[in-house]
Symmetry: C2
């Protein structure tokens, strides 16, 4: 009977692989991406509970579990400290480079503006070149903000190279170059990516390629744990970038993760707290003057606690207008960047890395010309009366931060308002735009010029081959039109307590809301960076409006970009058309390739070569002789078995599973993150080996989730999405129901100190009886039958 069945299985396999659908190149690329590059099958939240895994679980002692729990917290601590240090390092470097640059330029323009421009532009070019060189030559995955890719990773799509050690290095040094070089981009998005890289590297115990791995970190090879750590890393990145620990937690929750567990919140929160403390410590150390130009600036906290404390109902109208403008400008930004990035990807970037480098250098040059040249064309304004405003230092001494820059001004008591925001680091420019009690510092003309120019630069710079965040450019754009609206309000409402800086802040919130479409997290981040809780309801209002307006036109920036990069994110809700479809219809085009339990190696090789499937049902005959699906075998696990060869056997009959655990540990089956994994083409087998057999039973996932063939596809989608699955079997409708599980069947109480629990004693007793049984039997009943049979 056995050999008969075995033949049967092979025949089934043969029957189907000949009828595979043809696929063109693009399909192939995306399919392989979606399935994680042919080897990333374990990239789901569902742990493949095969025999080896369960044996490994059973062997774990209490002490081990304790050590494991401690390790999680230790890692959260290390992620926090690591991300904070990376953030401090980036900020320190950027502030110092910028400081030197502006100091040099300002001292040279005392003599010659042309020479000053040359030095300024050259400085920028060199910094930008260093950034684009690192990214194009060394770490291509470090380009852009990285947030769409991380979002994809946490959704279940592994973009190759996104979490490698070289990407981390590229991100850190690339950010320094691109931000220090004065491009219209920020360092906040890259910091989120940096945090994620640090987390991922810790989770896999260091980089294998650079021999930095350590063996005692092996427990974290479970993919779920890795993803949890990456989530912590994202929160740490935001917490470090904005010094906004609560905002970081909310960002990770709202924007990045796809599956959230409440236990995780506590750990993410801890990581953020560590970042806050670590950054604060580093800042205290720098206050002693050891950090060069890195003083109060760098870390973006734009304290506007001196600003407007109250608001009148009349002001709600201009604030709503800011929200609408934010929604429109944000949606436009998303659309323009989408077009430009799409054009870049299809034409420009196909021409090689040199084109990418030249592109960035040209943009850098244009940015230098605009930011240096435009203020030259602007007429200087006289300083405000110092008798009325004794606090104002106008013009400010060269080389210092602050408002009222004297740039190309003839008279002594004059300042150039365009240079104050344009010829400055972005952090300082924002601080100047947000600054309270500086009425009419800027002319509407200057702000409008800056808005148009900077908006265009931000759109063009987006998508180039350098690490680039969109937070700070967004804040720049938003605060400019916000301040413009504020100026009109001051002019027409004639209220003394209206402050232009507050409107600038609301503008910044509105643009970010209109572009990124975050809500709670963005609101908290804005409150934390401005250190002013009283503005919370106003920020909420503006965000509500700008997000609603933006949603009317297109999707959020990260979703658009993820889609463009071919990262297919599964949304939380099923599409409308799924409601009228059934499960069977979704998988009609596929042909299922079965394996029998014991399979010839040659057959496995043939199937893996000729199909692109990543999972194969395994069938066998049950104790009654009827055919049964005994589990799901993953392509990646088959490749590992073929590669190691130690499980090959001569007999076509099932082997003893107990010997398997001596040959394998569970970590053998875990794919290193963000690599391509094994491919069937890299595995060489001799003809003798191909004639041997492989018993799949210990390696298969014995119970994948199943759905009946006529279940609504929307329901299937929910199941798939909520549990973070990779494969669902669609099976025929059952002929009978063995039992029904309801809430009370799932309530096992562990302690008995309350009255309500008495009634569960019977269930609990049963549970106890059963849980002790696990050591009598080798395995689950069905598989057990199969395993013991010979």
């Amino acid at each position: 009977m056995l050999s008969n069945h075995f033949q049967n299985g092979i025949e089934t396999a043969k029957l189907v692989w000949s009828r595979l659908p043809s696929s063109d190149d693009v399909t192939e690329e995306l399919e392989s991406r979606m399935n994680g590059g042919g080897g990333a099958e374990s990239l789901d939240y569902e742990v493949v509970e095969n025999y080896v895994y369960r044996e490994a679980q059973a062997k774990r002692s209490k002490l081990y579990n304790w050590y494991y729990a401690m390790l999680k917290w230790l890692f959260a601590l290390l992620i926090g400290v690591g991300t904070a240090l990376a953030a401090v390092f980036i900020n320190l470097a950027v502030e110092n480079f910028s400081g030197w640059k502006y100091a040099a330029t300002f001292s040279i323009i005392q003599h010659s503006y042309f020479l000053g421009f040359l030095v300024y532009a050259l400085f920028n070019l060199v910094l930008v070149l260093s950034s684009v060189y690192i990214v194009t030559q060394f770490a291509p995955a470090a380009a852009g903000s990285g947030i769409p890719e991380i979002k994809g990773y946490l959704n279940g799509v592994d973009t190759p190279g996104i979490l490698l050690f070289r990407t981390l290095i590229g991100k850190i040094f690339g950010s320094i170059g691109s931000v220090g070089g004065g491009l219209a981009l920020g360092k906040e998005g890259p910091l989120v990516h940096t945090g994620a890289c640090i987390a991922s590297l810790l989770a896999q115990g260091g980089s294998t390629k650079y021999h930095l791995s350590s063996s005692w970190l092996h427990p974290f090879e479970s993919d779920r744990e890795r993803r949890d750590l990456v989530t912590c890393g994202c929160a740490a990145g935001v917490a470090a970038a904005f010094r906004a620990p609560v905002g970081g937690v909310l960002f990770a929750l709202e924007e990045v993760t796809s599956w959230w567990r409440s236990q995780l919140m506590w750990r993410v929160f801890f990581t953020s707290a560590i970042v806050a403390v670590a950054v604060r410590t580093a800042m205290t150390w720098c206050k002693s003057g050891k950090c060069g130009h890195f003083g109060s600036g760098g870390f973006i906290i734009w304290d506007i606690s001196g600003g407007q404390e109250d608001y009148s109902f009349q002001e709600l109208l201009p604030m709503a207008i800011i929200g609408i403008i934010g929604g429109l400008f944000g949606a436009l930004f998303n659309q323009l960047t989408l077009y430009i990035t799409s054009w870049r990807r299809s034409y420009l970037h196909k021409k090689g890395t040199n084109v990418k480098m030249i592109e960035v250098l040209v943009i850098s040059l244009v940015t230098s010309i605009i930011s240096f040249g435009l203020p030259l064309l602007r007429k200087c304004s006289p300083c405000p009366n110092s008798a009325i405003n004794p606090d104002i230092d106008c013009p400010r001494p060269p080389g210092n931060d602050g408002n009222f820059v004297n740039f190309f001004c003839k008279a002594d008591k004059e300042y150039n308002d365009l240079a104050t925001i344009f010829f400055n680091t972005q952090d300082d420019a924002i601080r100047n735009l947000f600054s309270a009690k500086t009425f009419q510092e800027y002319s509407a003309q200057s702000l409008l010029t800056f808005l148009i120019m900077f908006y265009s630069l931000a759109v063009v710079t987006f998508g180039t081959a350098v690490p680039a965040g969109q937070f700070v450019p967004g804040i720049m754009i938003g605060s400019t039109y916000g301040r413009l609206v504020g100026m009109f309000v001051v002019k027409y409402y004639m209220k003394l307590n209206v402050d232009e800086g507050t409107y600038a802040l609301l503008g910044a919130a509105s643009f970010l809301g209109g572009s990124m479409r975050m809500t709670v997290s963005l609101c908290v981040i804005m409150v934390e960076i401005t250190n002013n809780l009283k503005l919370l309801p106003l920020i909420m209002l503006v965000l509500l409006i700008s997000k609603a307006v933006g949603d009317f036109f297109n999707e959020g920036l990260y979703e658009e970009q993820a889609r463009l990069r071919g990262i297919p994110l599964l949304e939380t809700r099923p599409k409308q058309c799924m409601r009228s479809m059934i499960a069977k219809e979704a998988c009609q085009s596929q042909k299922i390739v079965y394996f029998p339990r014991v399979v010839k190696v040659a057959e496995v090789v043939f199937v893996l070569r000729s199909t692109k499937h990543n999972g194969f049902p395994v069938v066998d005959r049950g104790s009654g002789g009827q055919e049964l699906v005994i589990g799901l075998m993953l392509r990646s696990h088959l490749l590992i078995l073929l590669n190691s060869k130690i499980d090959f056997q001569n007999s076509p009959f099932p082997g003893d599973p107990r010997t398997v655990t001596s040959r394998h540990t569970f970590s053998d089956f875990v794919k290193p993150v963000s690599s391509q994994g094994l491919s069937i083409d890299n595995i060489n087998l001799t003809d003798d080996e191909k004639e041997m057999y492989l018993d799949l039973a210990p390696f298969l996932n014995p119970c994948p989730y199943v759905v009946p063939e006529d279940m609504s596809l929307a329901k299937v989608y929910n199941l798939f999405r909520q549990l973070g699955l990779r494969h669902i079997f669609v099976v025929p409708r059952p002929s009978r129901v063995i039992g029904m599980i309801t809430r009370k069947d799932l309530l096992f109480e562990e302690n008995e100190n309350s009255t309500a629990m008495e009634l569960q004693t019977s269930v609990r007793a049963q549970a106890h009886r059963r849980s002790t049984r696990r050591y009598d039997h080798l395995d689950r009943p069905l598989l057990n039958n199969l395993l013991i049979r010979e």
Copy 2:
């Protein structure tokens, strides 16, 4: 064949109902609670997609969907406004009652302290009596904080009466009495419940009993929508209670809900923002003096922006100690309240409502004696030197809020530090404890006395039959020992920038963390109520420690109380023992009762009478003649069918499903929230009716989720918990796999503006073809076969 099959089904049913397990009273009560009182089967997040539901869905126009989406936002707005108004009303009443009470007492004690005490105690007794009378006679579900019950409701357990209109009224007026009466409890927990009640009443279109319902709100009878609205209501409650909108969102997310969808976050956020604006408007209106004693107090914002700005590393040790104390005291509080509540429930409260009322009145009297009497025993302290501290008003004028109460002091320039915190409203007492720059206002002896007394009072008051929150008492207790630690730090560290008020705040955070075990939400609430962002990392640190210490001993306050009240919450993670169990083992004790597709009414009545099951599989023969499970029929739906009688038919053959939709709308099958629902004993049927037949096909849930019999119970638990299910069918292992659903099968793109989408065209085209098909066929393939057969 049909009648044969029909017979067969009846026989199956007969076969099993004779072998039901016996059940004692307690089991029965809890079982019926778990299943929602016999009729609350729709209390899951899974919509029962029966034929009637799907037809109703198909009929909906685009305009309707738009109206529906608008309605959701309108309701969010109404919930926000309603909760804010309720909060303002409660605060206004409490502040005015307290104001009158203290004004009267203070004016009388100028003449006689004994008379003053009598007036004070009587005032309290009357207020407390009003509260306990309302609760015991009119709205028993309004007792306590209501948070465990709401948490249970959102987890899937419907406590009867918890969301009724009378509960709302009882909660509002009861809170006024109990808080105004000076008991050791707060009004914040009840406000969360109030918000939830308002939301639930809106969702079901008003109260049916009081004829306040409206017909155009019918769409919200879906249980999932209701639950979403209740979540909004909880957030609104916290936002209103603490004026902490972000804290409200996080509270709803972290503490209350069990299933969170990211779309919901946006709506919850909107509700909170509305609350913030509405409360602010009301406060502005009150500032004009129209609200009597309701001035700056009432709403708890204890601004400590004047306090400590910075901290040194030395201070981290005392802060960590505060965290440890908080964990210990919090865990002790949970344990003590658990014992006392358990004792109360089993002995005291069984003796009737009079005992409940007497109990509360005795506690009120004791509270009055302690809060009035203890300060009398305390020696007054001389006022601080007014030359050094010119801001301090000591002693404060009678009837005003503030520090330094002159109570039973002989000399003029003296104050009674114990009266400052004890003989005061709790809000003012906390403000005094948090107050910055008032070094050595309190003696250690007074604080210690207060701590012990108030802790005992809070433990005893918890669980009585009045609306009672634990936030404010927790803050009182915590800030007392926090200030004690702060005093020691000031004394021994000799630092000038250390502020006792900051330590009081940390103490408050630590006690709440140690008792309620919330993390992120509590942190944000503390920051929002104190209006000081700089203390965030310190609050985080203290919360981390106190939660960790508390978790070592027991569960959080709400979990303990929920368990005590017999609300079986499903935790997010499966228990350890489930890993070694399989699905079949969990349902071994049950006997499944099947129904055939067309069933005799008498049989249905008999089965419903003789079993307690809430779901019944329905079997029929497929087109090939083999037996198939065609769906799940709920007890509650059967009861509705029996009650309406319009679906009874004379023929034992399947009817035409198209006629069903003329007799039923989907809303017929939705149970009103928090009521007992129908019972089989209330349905009277004549003998003729009992001889008729019922075709179940249009009313059954055609595709409940299924799991194979040997799936690990931990996996089943995840499925059940993540999707918020009520029933899972355990079925035999499938014999074949029809298809496999992977990520790419679930990606349908709706717009085509990017390159990555091209490849999905084929899938999309298919999807389109299929979705149009729905109007050609009546129903899903399988059921279709069955329905068309006659």
